[in-house]
């Protein structure tokens, strides 16, 4: 009987070796290991053996069973591997076919820039607030130390609101009894408004539409500025420098340098203009020995800033003996163009709403 078992084991292992397909393996497995299979039929004889031999043969039979089962398992595995291989091959995919991008929308370039600017100032504790675009001359000019008739007013190319929509020839300012109404030519109207409506200390950022009577390849009649205002006890020029340095580093990157240069604005004193090194000529002022056409001797004007004029603090009800502050007002479009090297050629394309343009960003 031991010999029978020995033979069964050899037969089964040999038979298994020749088979690679799963269904046939299953047939063979039933032939040998099934309830009515060859192993079972040999073992039927087991009770007929003597007790001592029975134990020994029984043990041997179990070993045979395990060996055969192992052979089947291995064969099964091999068969599976072959099948997998052919299936995987048949599942070949062209990875060079274009990806199916999700349909996403696009935020306007200027919206993106405003969010980016806001994000940087938010990290310094600035809060965004909102102030009117259509504004009294008082907040746009007088409260900012620019009285009526002052030549500084000419610099802004201001749009005035008609007194009567049906007769736009008459502006509000021509009627002495009526305050003039303008489209804000800058965001600085926010300064005195913020002082009037907020508790001190103030760290405000106002990003808004502004309007000036100019339209050419570098100017649009509606554009955006971001205005910062900080008022507290003991605010110094050093605070202004630090804040603007922080912004410039974060917005433009560490490889661009800035400088503060004297300038003149009626509502700040001292006043500055902030320059940044030109991206085109890397601050050299020259490209291949020729004068850089983008900048002025290596520098680009970023925008204006200064310490809030005592007259402006007073106009906002803040005591200039006790408090000081700084303010800055920069063009969003200009700042954006300087950062990204988006050379649009004609800035007016920003507001033409050509979807072929808008969908690029």
């Amino acid at each position: 009987m031991k010999t029978q078992l020995e033979k069964l084991k050899d037969d089964a292992i040999t038979a298994v070796k020749d088979l690679v397909s799963s269904p046939k393996l299953e047939e063979l497995r039933i032939e040998y290991l099934g309830r009515k299979g060859k192993l079972a039929s040999i073992l039927k004889e087991l009770p007929t053996l003597a007790v001592e031999t029975r134990k020994e043969v029984g043990q041997f039979a179990n070993e045979v069973k395990s060996a055969v089962e192992l052979a089947f398992m291995e064969a099964e595995k091999a068969a599976q591997a072959i099948e997998n291989e052919s299936r995987i091959k048949s599942e070949w995919l062209d990875i060079t076919a274009p990806g199916a991008e999700p349909e996403i929308g696009h935020l306007h370039l200027v919206t993106q820039a405003m969010e980016e600017v806001l994000h940087i100032f938010t990290r310094l504790g600035f809060s965004r607030s909102r102030h009117p675009e259509v504004e009294w001359g008082h907040y746009a000019f007088e409260a900012l130390n620019v009285p009526k008739g002052h030549p500084a007013r000419d610099e802004w190319e201001t749009f005035f609101i008609a007194k009567d929509p049906e007769n736009p020839e008459v502006a509000m300012y021509e009627d002495d009894n009526m305050a003039e109404m303008v489209l804000t030519p800058h965001t600085s109207n926010a300064q005195v408004r913020e002082m009037e409506q907020s508790e001190l200390p103030i760290r405000m950022i106002n990003i808004n539409r502004t309007y000036r009577r100019q339209s050419d390849i570098t100017h649009v009649p509606m554009f955006h500025q971001f205005e910062g205002l900080v008022i507290d006890k003991g605010i110094t020029i050093a605070d202004l420098k630090g804040t603007l340095d922080f912004f410039a580093q974060n917005f433009f990157g560490a490889d661009r340098k800035t400088r503060l240069r004297p300038h003149h604005f009626r509502f700040t004193e001292p006043s500055f203009e902030i320059d940044i090194t030109c991206d085109q000529c890397k601050g050299e002022g020259k490209i291949d020995g020729l004068k850089c056409r983008t900048c002025k001797e290596g520098w680009l004007e970023l925008g204006g800033a200064g310490m809030v004029h005592p007259n402006v603090l007073q106009a906002g009800g803040v005591d200039p003996e006790e408090y000081s502050g700084f303010a800055f007002g920069w063009g969003v479009e200009r700042t954006l163009m300087m950062k990204s090297g988006i050379n649009v050629g004609d800035i007016r394309v920003l507001y033409k709403n050509d979807l072929r343009f808008l969908k690029q960003f």
């Binding site: 929308g105 306007h108 509000m172 006890k233 630090g242 001797e297 005592p310 507001y351």
Partner: protein
């Protein structure tokens, strides 16, 4: 305002060894921004003086000549078309390798040895404009007859012959610092920023010569508009072209040389920043000068050959009969200096800046003088300028002083004085700067301080008496000369700021990001449109905020709705981008009586060119309700049938808490056509401002169900106008285990009777406390089918 400044000229008043680059950097950092630095010699390489020794006709061209020209080292043949070319003429020759501007236009071109119509030409004989001196008074189509101003030998470099070993700065002068719009002013600033020495101009006072006096009466009728008027007569002048040095200085400064007398006035303007005028004495009727208001309607023929009609608000300089100048703006055609003028009256005056500004705007008449006057000049300034003019006139035009120096001044000059607290300066700068350093800085700028400790009285020098208006202005002077780049840089510290983020702005930003992520592209346009744009959308332009001085006729009215812009943008885009999903979130402007208009955030979201309009509608609705969920808004729609702007069977009012806040629907054909749109447009027009304060982030936890749900699909055929909402409500009423009713599909067409539609629903059933048995589900579904048959005459498919 910008000024062209020769470094050599500045150095007549500033003793400095700084290179032009270093000087420019110091100026930019502490004073006025130097916007460009122009090294002249490099521009004129290989350009020399030549003398035409022989002229020949060109064998192949009538208008060209051949000039054999002595250029020092040799004689060369040059083909030239200058009409005034003559033998013996001293000319400027651009040799091969030099760069010139052809006919004064376009880019610089490098010359090469060439043949012109078959004849060799070794370079070119230049016109002044080809060398960059467009303002030189040249002969038309002629070349520069350089012998008029120079006797330089043939072969001399042009740089040497014309004195061009110089650097020209283009400097931006801020509008408050009119004192720096001059060579002397820049030298003074230069001294302060470099620490080098300023050499004040040394001018002789005017000495009257007694032998022949020319009578003149001078009076000022309006001393407010003319706080100071000075005049002096100079007799026996010889009017001719100025010497080369003067012409060169004017040309480099951007002025046009005219004759020696006029050139002197422009020279003084550029050197001292004080405008002057010279009248021909013999043209002044009655030997009289009256500074008076113009008469309404009075006519004036100005130097620019145009006649101006004056108003009584304009100030004029008149003789006994007529105006001879619009004060401070422009002289008259007939009273100016001419070739035969023998006697001149030099005027040095101060006019009120506001008067000048108004006059200039009214007449639309601008000049170098007007630009300076309207910024405000000191009444002390004319003295030096007039003396210098007389000194120069005697030197280059001959003549003698033939009158007293008339000087009519409204009031005695009092220099402004401000108190200064040096501790305040330190506080604002954030540094420990010593009092002595502060006082030194002010002193180099011409300020005089008196006092002790931290308190001083500071007297302002006359050239700064307009821009220094406040103690703080002194702080600026100290800070800028100390150097902003030398100040520390820090982040503001201190108590926490009180401001909180504006909630509306936060939600506008959230909304933009939401609609963008949902696949919609943001439009961003001008806030103003034309009246006709508003009218096209049936809006009344008279209800809008209207500009008094629009830039163009298509940007006149502030938007009262975003729809006109939206539709016009769609019209513009439809040709190139056939379908799109877009949105805009911008303010509209609503007028109020006697108050600023309301600026209200408005939202439009739209799809155009979509093939399946109902689906497009539902997508938009879904995007809207999705946003409403995000913003915690309780939103619902109510069918809209009577708004002519919208498709009567495809539009609905958007309601928030029972209030109408917008419309969703297909734009009515009429308005689609009005804007020339040939595709259907589905849009949302929504008042963001009305609901923004109700917006809030909702975070609510609902337990995850313990027991499984069962889904059952159901297709019913009902009348077309049966609404989903009714079906849903009815089905839900049948049992508490109906968790939700979802719409899978609506179908109309083949196989479905006319007027009917097939609605496929998926019903989700779930009990909170057990797994549903199939019998229970079947019972509920039976009840649902029964009630649909009964209430909606539905047939179950």
């Amino acid at each position: 305002m910008n000024i062209l400044a020769s470094y050599n000229w500045i150095k007549e008043y500033l003793k400095t060894d700084l290179s032009s680059e270093d000087f420019a950097r110091e100026m930019s950092l502490k004073s006025m921004s130097v916007e460009s630095i122009d090294h002249l010699p490099g521009k004129f390489e290989n350009i020399v003086i030549g003398v035409v020794s022989e002229m020949k006709t060109h064998p192949n061209a009538d208008k060209l000549k051949i000039a054999i020209t002595d250029i020092g080292s040799k004689k060369v043949q040059i083909v030239c078309g200058g009409v005034n070319l003559a033998e013996g003429m001293r000319v400027v020759v651009a040799l091969p390798g030099s760069k010139v501007r052809w006919h004064g236009e376009g880019e610089l071109v490098e010359l090469v040895e060439t043949k012109i119509r078959g004849e060799e030409s070794f370079g070119m004989i230049c016109a002044a404009e080809e060398l960059g001196f467009a303002k030189y008074p040249a002969v038309d189509h002629g070349i520069w007859d350089f012998g008029e101003i120079s006797e330089a030998e043939a072969g001399t470099s042009f740089v040497e012959a014309f004195g061009l070993d110089d650097v020209i700065f283009d400097i931006e002068v801020t509008s408050n610092r009119v004192d720096a719009m001059s060579m002397v002013g820049l030298a003074r600033e230069g001294a302060a920023v470099t620490g080098d020495k300023f050499m004040a101009p040394d001018i002789e006072t005017i000495k009257e010569i007694k032998n022949e006096k020319k009578p003149l009466t001078v009076s000022v009728k309006d001393s407010e508009a003319c706080p100071r008027y000075m005049a002096v007569v100079v007799n026996n002048v010889k009017v001719e072209a100025s010497p080369a040095w003067l012409q060169r200085k004017l040309l480099l400064a951007g002025h046009r040389p005219i004759n020696n007398i006029v050139d002197i006035t422009n020279y003084i303007l550029h050197e001292y920043g004080q405008p002057l005028h010279a009248f021909d004495y013999d043209e002044l009727a009655g030997g009289e000068i009256v500074v008076r208001a113009a008469k309404d309607g009075e006519k004036f023929l100005a130097l620019d050959d145009k006649e101006y009609e004056l108003k009584k608000s304009n100030l004029v300089i008149a003789d006994a009969e007529k105006p001879v100048a619009v004060a401070g703006v422009m002289g008259g055609r007939n009273s100016g200096t001419k070739a035969n003028t023998r006697t001149v009256v030099f005027e040095a005056a101060i006019f009120d800046s506001i008067n000048i500004r108004k006059t200039s705007r009214l007449l639309n008449l601008y000049s170098d003088s007007q630009l300076l006057f309207e910024k405000g000049l000191s009444v002390k300034a004319p003295e030096l300028a007039l003396a210098k003019a007389v000194e120069l006139a005697l030197e280059i035009a001959g003549g003698e002083v033939a009158s007293e120096v008339y000087d009519i001044q409204a009031a005695e000059y009092i220099a402004p004085v401000f108190s200064m607290r040096t501790d305040r300066i330190r506080k604002l700068l954030g540094i420990e700067i010593q009092n002595t350093e502060i006082l030194d800085i002010l002193s180099t700028l011409g300020f005089e301080a008196e006092g002790s400790g931290d308190n001083y009285k500071v007297t302002v020098p006359y050239w700064r008496d307009h821009d220094i208006e406040h103690e703080i202005d002194l702080t600026e002077e100290v800070a800028r000369i100390y150097g902003y780049h030398n100040l520390p840089s820090k982040i503001p510290t201190g108590a926490p700021p009180t401001g909180l983020e504006d909630k509306a702005l936060v939600w506008e930003s959230n909304a933009k990001r939401y609609f963008c992520s949902a696949g919609y592209t943001e439009l961003y346009g001008y806030s103003f449109v034309s009246a006709s744009m508003l009218e096209k959308y049936g809006l009344n332009p008279h209800e809008a905020v209207v500009l008094h001085n629009p830039l163009t006729s298509d940007l006149t009215h502030m938007r009262t709705s975003l729809m006109p812009s939206l539709l016009s943008d769609i019209a513009k885009n439809q040709g190139q981008v056939h379908s799109a999903k877009i949105f805009d979130l911008s303010p509209i402007y609503i007028t109020r009586k006697n108050d600023l208009p309301l600026e209200l955030a408005q939202l439009v979201v739209a799809e155009y060119g979509q093939e399946d309009v109902p689906h497009s509608f539902l997508r938009l609705k879904g995007v809207l309700t999705g946003f409403a969920k995000k913003a915690g808004l309780n939103i619902s729609l109510e069918r809209l049938t009577d708004d002519e702007k919208w498709h009567p069977s495809r539009s609905a009012s958007i309601m928030v808490d029972g209030e109408q806040v917008g419309v969703i629907g297909q734009v009515a054909d009429k308005y689609q056509q009005a804007f020339g749109i040939n595709k259907s447009v589905v849009a949302i027009d929504f008042s963001f401002a009305k609901v923004v304060l109700k917006m809030k982030k909702i975070r609510r936890y609902e337990p995850i169900p313990e027991f499984p749900a069962t889904d059952r699909d159901l297709a019913v055929v009902v009348d077309v106008e049966v609404e989903f909402l009714e079906l849903e409500k009815t089905i839900k009423e049948q049992s508490s285990i109906v968790e939700s009713v979802n719409l899978i599909d609506i179908y109309r067409g083949a196989g479905i009777p006319e007027g009917k539609k097939s609605v496929t629903l998926s019903i989700t059933l779930r009990a909170p406390d057990k797994t549903l048995s199939s019998d229970h589900v079947a019972d509920v579904m039976k009840a649902v089918e029964k009630v649909l048959k009964k209430q909606f005459d539905a047939s179950i498919r």
